[in-house]
Amino acid sequence: MAGHKEVDAVTGIETTGHVWDGDLKELNKPLPRWWLYVLYATIIWSIGYWILYPAWPLVDGYTQGVLGYSQRSEVTRDVAAAKESQTRFVEAIAAREPADIAKDPDLMEFVLRGGAAQFANNCAPCHGRGAQGFKGYPNLNDDDWLWGGTVADIEATIRNGIRSGHAESRESAMPRFGLDQVLTNEQIADTATFVLSLSGQPGDAPAAERGKAIFAEQCVACHGEEGKGMAELGAPNLTDAIWLYGGGKADVEETIRTGRTGVGVMPAWDGKLDPVTIKMLAIYVHALGGGK
């Protein structure tokens, strides 16, 4: 039968000679030969790829390809190129004063965007993604600053940390008035009533009066006569609406009793982040809305 083809009676076209289910046949509509050549060409093309690029897995590794290409090296190159393109910004940030930087919209945008990225990487775990803070971790959006809210203050706080063990760390320690039995529970309650009255919160007037005397004796050294705090000592302003450890009476009593010692630690970023990054972070945090 070879060499003899059946021709379909209806179409007049030759069949392939293949028959299925006894009577099912197909017409021979030949594919253009060049289409086959295109297939061969793609195979040859793929051989070129095997030679030039990493291709075949081996027992221990893979064929590297003569171009020595790898996606990792490409990323490394891209990162280096990105760093290179940032050089003029980085140099400008290092050289210029924050107030000066703020006047350059391009530079400021670089600082704010870079600051946001660095904040997310380094600061967000404690202060939150939006820098909103948590109990014991200050909200960086507001206008209340324990250690001062200028860019320089913030920069120093980031660089040296708070109770971080760094040589220039910011240090403050509220005495443990209750635990160390300096004050009795009643005295602490009276003091808390007075402290809350500083921000206009109602309370028992005689208790506040008693608390005022204790405050004058025990607290003014750090928090000041009017309870407005001292940024140099990290002593908070007690007259405003912002409370790091909560503004309820029980919260304030707890703070006086325990001094909240041993909890508030901000790491020193000196050495972990480069000075330009720290400066960018300081400007970014300052620009969150509450900077002084």
Partner: protein, 503 residues
């Protein structure tokens, strides 16, 4: 080809012995030499030169389309300083598309979508009215193939000369004629590929860069790509592209109906076909003298007299060829003509019905085109030269300040699509005592400058002091940003909300 009984090997019921005791196995070599015909080599086509109305139209269309393609990037358009002065530029690097006075930003790409939809519907309409006009006259594959064939004809002569040349051994004449043809093809291809990249970058600059070797590598890659495809598809693949690669011929049959004007052979007039000798009567025979002029001029290598077929691009060259012959033998022209399926079934000229151009199908396509163009036109007219968007801070939603006030943060984006720097005043309406501050601006400075043709984002803080907390209507108080163009006084408004723990 001999006609055979059906392949019998599976039908064969009784095994045959090859020799006593040796069964003859019921098998054929699947890939026997004789069976290897599943791939067909391309049969070269030597289209003969046609002359006539449609050939002239095709020359004009070729000149216009190629003229537009090659010259468009060189047209200048002054848009002012800092902007490209190329009339037609797809500036991907700066995310702008420029079409003369029209400038499209990335978020306005729906205009391109609209143009593409209208174009597709336009193609449907033309196809339903007059068949494959696109394929026959304006498709780049057709135009460049036509050009390549013209070049071939210029160097090697018309159909018979080319066939003779191809059959002849490699003489000096054959070598130089072929070399000249391919050199011209390559020059055309190079120009095609070269011009392509000019649409994406300032043409005079890029031309200089290409010549001095300073152009971006991607320009050379695309230039090489389009040079190669023009040379291969126009010079060699030709009709193979239409038959085997392009999906459009398979789709467009859906747009034909009984009233579509298609290039057709009027069988009722032509048949029975037979050669005609001078002086013989034309009675009891068709007008077709079977001269095959229509076949010889066909660039697709088909016989139009076989009826409508997928391979026919309806370039109408067979009409020219046949009209020429009909003139010579003294019969009426139009044996091959634009004709409808309905009239193809007519028994004679007298039975022909007028062509219906207005049909549900063409009305529908026209209405759809009008609707799409109207929507796009309206969108273009309503396009504001300045747009703003306001993004509320979500984390934190609000900030409690030391004096008990509440602050919200917003990112205000101002798109200045004009070609001049603009100054805008920003204010927030809705909460009487609220204070607005723009990051990086002095207190009370609520004006922002936006350079020409850019998007400027500014961070804005709205503060409601403790004393004004009563103005807040709940956890969310409506707030409206109003951005006023200081030069024109035009206001752009965006409504948003002020979040708080409550009044």
């Amino acid at each position: 080809m001999t006609r055979m009984e059906p392949a019998s090997r599976f039908n064969r019921t009784e095994p045959v012995e090859a020799a006593p005791g040796v069964a003859r196995i019921d098998v054929d070599a699947v890939s026997s030499k004789a069976a290897r015909s599943y791939y067909a080599a391309r049969q070269p086509i030597y289209p003969k030169r046609a002359e006539g109305t449609f050939r002239t139209v095709k020359w004009v269309v070729m000149a216009v389309t190629l003229g537009i393609y090659y010259l468009l990037p060189w047209i200048r358009w002054n848009r002012g300083p800092g902007l490209p002065d190329q009339a037609f530029l797809l500036d991907f690097a700066h995310q702008r598309l420029f079409f003369g006075p029209i400038e499209i930003w990335p978020q306005e790409l729906y205009f391109i979508t609209g143009i593409l939809i209208a174009s597709a519907l336009g193609l449907f309409l033309v196809t339903s009215l007059a068949g494959r006009m696109w394929c026959g006259y304006t498709c780049p594959q057709t135009v460049w193939t036509d050009l390549m064939i013209a070049v071939e004809r210029f160097w090697q002569g018309d159909r018979n000369a080319r066939m003779r040349l191809d059959k002849s051994p490699w003489t000096f004449e054959k070598i130089w004629k072929k070399a000249a043809t391919h050199t011209t093809w390559l020059a055309i291809s190079l120009a095609t590929g070269g011009v392509f990249v000019f649409y994406f970058r300032d043409a005079p600059t890029l031309a200089r860069e290409l010549l001095t070797g300073e152009a971006p590598i991607v320009a050379y890659v695309f230039m090489a790509l389009f040079t190669a495809t023009t040379y291969v598809l126009g010079g060699f693949a030709r009709e193979q592209v239409c038959i085997y690669m392009c999906p459009w011929p398979r789709i467009q049959a859906a747009m034909f109906d009984a009233d579509s004007l298609l290039v057709s052979y009027r069988g009722y007039r032509g048949e029975p076909r037979a050669p005609h000798k001078k002086g013989q009567p034309w009675l009891n025979r068709g007008d077709c003298i079977d001269c095959k002029a229509c076949v010889a001029v066909c660039p697709m290598g088909i016989d139009i007299r076989d009826g409508a077929q997928m391979e026919c691009i309806q370039c109408a060259l067979c009409i020219d060829a046949c009209d020429d012959i009909m003139g010579k033998v003294g019969r009426p022209k139009g044996l091959i003509a634009y004709e409808t399926f309905r009239n193809m079934e007519a028994a004679s000229e007298a039975d022909r019905k007028p062509v219906r151009l207005v049909r549900p199908r063409t009305v529908l396509y026209s209405v759809l085109i009008t609707v799409v163009l109207a929507i796009m036109g309206w969108a273009w007219i309503a396009r504001s030269p300045v747009e703003i968007s306001v993004i509320e801070d979500r984390n934190p939603l609000f900030v409690r300040l030391s004096d008990g006030g509440i602050r919200n943060g917003y990112t205000l984006k101002v798109l200045n699509k004009t070609h001049q720097a603009q100054r805008f005043a920003v204010r927030a309406d809705g909460i009487a005592a609220s204070e607005l501050a723009i990051v990086g601006h002095d207190n009370g400075d609520a004006e922002i400058a936006v350079e020409a043709d850019v998007v400027r984002a500014v961070k804005i803080y709205i503060t409601v002091p403790a004393t004004a907390r009563a103005d807040l209507t709940g956890v969310s108080t409506p707030l409206r940003f109003v951005v006023t163009n200081l030069a024109t006084g035009n206001e752009v408004i965006r409504d948003t909300a002020f979040r708080s723990p409550g009044p």
